[in-house]
């Protein structure tokens, strides 16, 4: 087990090192990077929209359910919703879902390219496949996942407000007042730091498992599952580590 960990970790670092070389054609690399930004950003927006709205709504309802004391003002609900979403739900929950959506796509795409010899074809042409295929994916994820997390934060809070107002738990004024109470900009920085880290984990780990597939169609599926599982575990681990370090 230990041996396998070090084997994979060493290979992972070598893969990252292999990405850094002078691009054969900057225009083609840029095109590939933009394509990845569209795939990751626009392609995942739908699921982020849905989970954020419900995540915010449920957080409002559950917070209201627990805050039964009459001496606690209603605006506290909004405060709790805001901080829960910014600190934890928007970066972590969204990235766990994105690990499934983006991670499996990256792993299966690269795995399929490996099995069908498309990566070999690129190598034969004299193209650095790690630089051309993996680096744009990682850069695209590191750029777009924080954007998705920011959108998830806004949508989550908005969903929380709508759920609270529609169910009569809290008025719009009370909610807006709560949102402004004791707001710490550092929390947003913390959420962004987490989303950059998670974005890197999702793209690089999935690319590693996809790029190194050997065998056939069954192995592509296995690599895809392993990529998602390892990404999720690493996200949770780094979530704890960053919280312990930064808060």
């Amino acid at each position: 087990m230990e041996f396998k960990f070090f084997y994979h970790f060493g290979n992972f670092l070598l893969m990252l090192k292999g990405m850094f070389s002078r691009p054969e054609n900057m225009k083609m690399y840029w095109k590939q990077f933009m394509q990845q930004c569209v795939d990751i950003g626009v392609g995942s927006f739908g699921i982020v929209f849905i989970i954020s709205l419900f995540m915010g709504g449920v957080t409002t309802l559950q917070t209201a359910y627990q805050l039964v004391s009459p001496i606690i003002p209603k605006s506290t609900i909004a405060q709790v919703v805001r901080d829960t979403i910014i600190l934890e739900f928007a970066p972590t929950l969204t990235c766990i879902v994105l690990a499934g959506v983006i991670g499996s796509k990256i792993a299966s795409e690269l795995g399929n390219m490996r099995i069908s010899e498309q990566i070999d074809a690129l190598e034969i042409m004299g193209i650095n496949t790690k630089g051309y295929l993996i680096a744009p994916k990682i850069m695209g994820a590191v750029l777009m996942i924080p954007v998705l997390v920011a959108i998830a934060g806004f949508l989550g809070i908005w969903g929380g407000k709508e759920a609270g107002v529609l169910s009569g738990i809290i008025s719009e004024e009370q909610f807006m007042q709560g949102l402004r109470q004791e707001f710490k900009a550092y929390n947003v920085f913390f959420a962004m730091a987490k989303s950059y880290t998670f974005g890197f984990i999702i793209a690089s780990v999935s690319a590693y498992y996809g790029y190194n597939v050997t065998g056939g169609a069954l192995e592509i599926g296995k690599a895809s599952t392993t990529a998602v599982v390892v990404s999720c575990v690493l996200i949770l681990f780094m979530d704890y580590a960053l919280t312990a370090i930064l808060l």
């Binding site: 083609m28 399929n112 069908s116 498309q118 074809a121 034969i124 042409m125 004299g126």
Partner: protein, 274 residues
């Protein structure tokens, strides 16, 4: 010209290539043949640099490919075209975009020049009508032809084909063989084909290397095969009763022709020496 000097390659404790030496000449169709597990695929992967060699040298026009660093290898690789067994076309691109890809990556010139070159290559493989189609929408034979067009678009000095006829019907196979042979002669390319197909061996094999258990067992041309007395080669090439009879008839045909009598004597002498 590609020269292999005592190539050895192994995995863990198993030796796959046991010191293979051969010369692949330019302007000729060089075939690597052999049964499954004989080491021909490993040998081709070593030649193109997809695998490193254990020991030995691979010389591309007298330049030692095995001693080159990654930058130098990149330069050589830009002179290599390769047709893969499964064609290895990029699924998300159309036929035209697949052929255009090496030009976009390495080619100089305007978009018009590039499009013109793509059109020439597609014309050469008779696939202009499929230019806007995706790989999933075309047949296996067409995919191979697109693979050939992509391989030749940068005017390579070396063309490698890994089992170009696998999964194709005999007529399409002959078409692909004819195309590769014509391109080899036309552009004076050093073509190396890894094949199981006996039609290819008999029709296109200017120079044949027969691999047996990781070693070069026999070397010669398609004409030499008819007179070869190498039992292992004969068992491999003329595996069925039908093919053995065909071989004997071919020998008789040649024998009847007085022009060939002297040549036959020479061939027999050479073949027994190999």
């Amino acid at each position: 010209m590609i020269e292999l000097q005592d190539i050895k390659k192994g995995f863990a404790d198993k030796e796959i290539l046991k010191g293979v030496s051969a010369v692949m000449e330019s302007g000729k169709v060089n075939l690597i043949i052999g049964a499954s597990g004989s080491g021909k695929t490993v040998m081709m992967k070593c030649i193109v640099g997809l695998m490193g060699v254990g020991s030995g040298k691979i010389l591309y026009d007298n330049q030692d490919f095995t001693a080159m660093d990654d930058k130098e290898k990149k330069v050589v690789r830009q002179e290599i075209g390769m047709l893969f067994q499964g064609s290895a076309l990029f699924d998300s691109m159309t036929v035209e975009q697949n052929v255009m890809f090496p030009l976009d990556m390495f080619g100089k010139g305007t978009l018009r020049d590039k499009k013109k070159r793509v059109a020439e290559c597609l014309e050469r493989v008779q696939l202009m009508e499929a230019a806007k189609k995706f790989p999933a929408e075309i047949s296996g034979g067409m995919k191979k032809r697109v693979g050939i067009a992509r391989a030749i678009v940068l005017n390579p000095k070396y063309l490698f084909c890994d089992e170009p006829n696998s999964g194709l019907d005999p007529q399409t196979s002959l078409l692909i063989d004819k195309l590769i042979t014509e391109l080899t002669k036309e552009y004076n390319i050093t073509t190396v084909i890894n094949t199981h197909d006996m039609n290819t061996v008999m029709e296109s094999g200017d120079h044949i290397v027969y691999m047996y258990q990781g070693q070069k067992q026999w070397e010669g041309s398609n004409k030499d095969i008819i007179f070869s007395k190498d039992q292992k080669l004969n068992d491999f090439i003329f595996a069925s009763e039908f093919l053995r009879e065909a071989k004997e008839m071919r020998q008789l045909d040649i024998f009847k022709d007085n022009k060939w009598r002297d040549q036959l004597k020479n061939k027999e002498g050479n073949a027994s020496g190999k």
